[in-house]
């Protein structure tokens, strides 16, 4: 092997080794395809085995009777000063009986100013909607309310 050939091969090897880890990191851990998840496993995945405390700080606003299960507005507000020392880290919204119990995980920062989040979710039938809140000191708070659905909105 000549010296210049050796350097060419070295270059290609270096390029491949540089590309492979970048590709493996690019695959992000975001959900793809239809997922199936139980409520309890979802709650465990969020809290990591810790017990979530029921608290009046978390206010969950859901209609008691939803005529259409396809569009159910949900609002979660948390009493928090939202400073760098004490803020709400994440808000999770869960449902009780859909095939996937997780709806959305929201990661907040002190730049938000107020700890509030609202969306619209789908519900397959009459069930409980739960909000799990993670504080910056590692505590978990929980609030839930049952919703009566007259027409299911899944599928």
């Amino acid at each position: 092997m000549q010296r210049r050939d050796f350097f060419k091969k070295l270059g290609t090897v270096a390029a491949i080794t540089a590309v492979i880890p970048a590709m493996s990191f690019a695959a992000d851990a975001k959900p793809t395809g239809p997922n199936k998840m139980d409520f309890n496993t979802a709650l465990n995945a969020i809290t990591g085995g810790k017990t979530a405390v029921k608290s009046s700080k978390v206010k969950l606003k859901v209609p008691e009777i939803a005529e259409n299960g396809a569009v159910v507005p949900v609002t979660v507000t948390v009493d928090s000063p939202m400073t760098d020392a004490d803020y709400v880290k994440a808000i999770h919204i869960l449902n009780g009986k859909n095939s996937n119990a997780r709806c959305i995980d929201v990661n907040l920062t002190p730049a938000n100013g107020k700890a509030m989040f609202s969306t619209r979710i789908k519900l397959g039938g009459t069930q409980e909607v739960t909000a799990v809140v993670e504080l910056s000191n590692g505590e978990f708070l929980i609030a839930s309310q049952s919703v009566k659905v007259t027409i299911g909105g899944c599928g």
Binding site: K30, P31, P34, V106, T109, A111, N112, M116, R120, G155
Partner: protein, 131 residues
């Protein structure tokens, strides 16, 4: 020459319509409309998206509709990430994401969402505090 001109005009019209559709695909709303520096405002991001779970059936062909749903949304203000969300399929069709935000000088708010099929969409709005 005349045909050429017609084609040109048609092309411009098509492009305009495409641009309009792109605009209508998503919307950022800030409440109140007039705000000062340091104020906390409500920001809502609305998207036109089917949010198919992968379990519903087409009524005519009776075949499963493949899953197509948003799986992540990011709010970025002046290069700093404010809020980031992991989304699952049980959100409603054409979802709305509403949070609060602290105004901190002139700049730009950019919201991006990605799809489970790999679609990426970006929308931005200028932020001009008055007074």
């Amino acid at each position: 020459m005349v045909d050429f001109n017609h084609e040109k005009i048609k092309n411009i019209k098509d492009k305009k319509e495409e641009f309009k559709m792109e605009e209508r695909k998503s919307l950022i709303k800030i409440k109140p409309k007039r705000y000062k520096d340091g104020e906390i405002v409500k920001v809502s991001f609305m998207v036109m998206h089917p949010m198919d779970t992968g379990m519903g059936k087409d009524k005519k062909t009776k075949k499963l509709i493949p899953a197509k749903y948003i799986n992540s949304v990011k709010f970025v203000y002046n290069g700093k990430e404010i809020t980031n969300m992991t989304v699952w399929e049980s959100l409603s069709v054409n979802p709305v994401f509403t949070t609060y935000m602290k105004i901190n000088g002139k700049g730009k708010l950019t919201v991006t969402y990605t799809d489970n099929t790999g679609e990426v969409h970006e929308k931005s709005k200028k932020i001009k505090p008055k007074g």
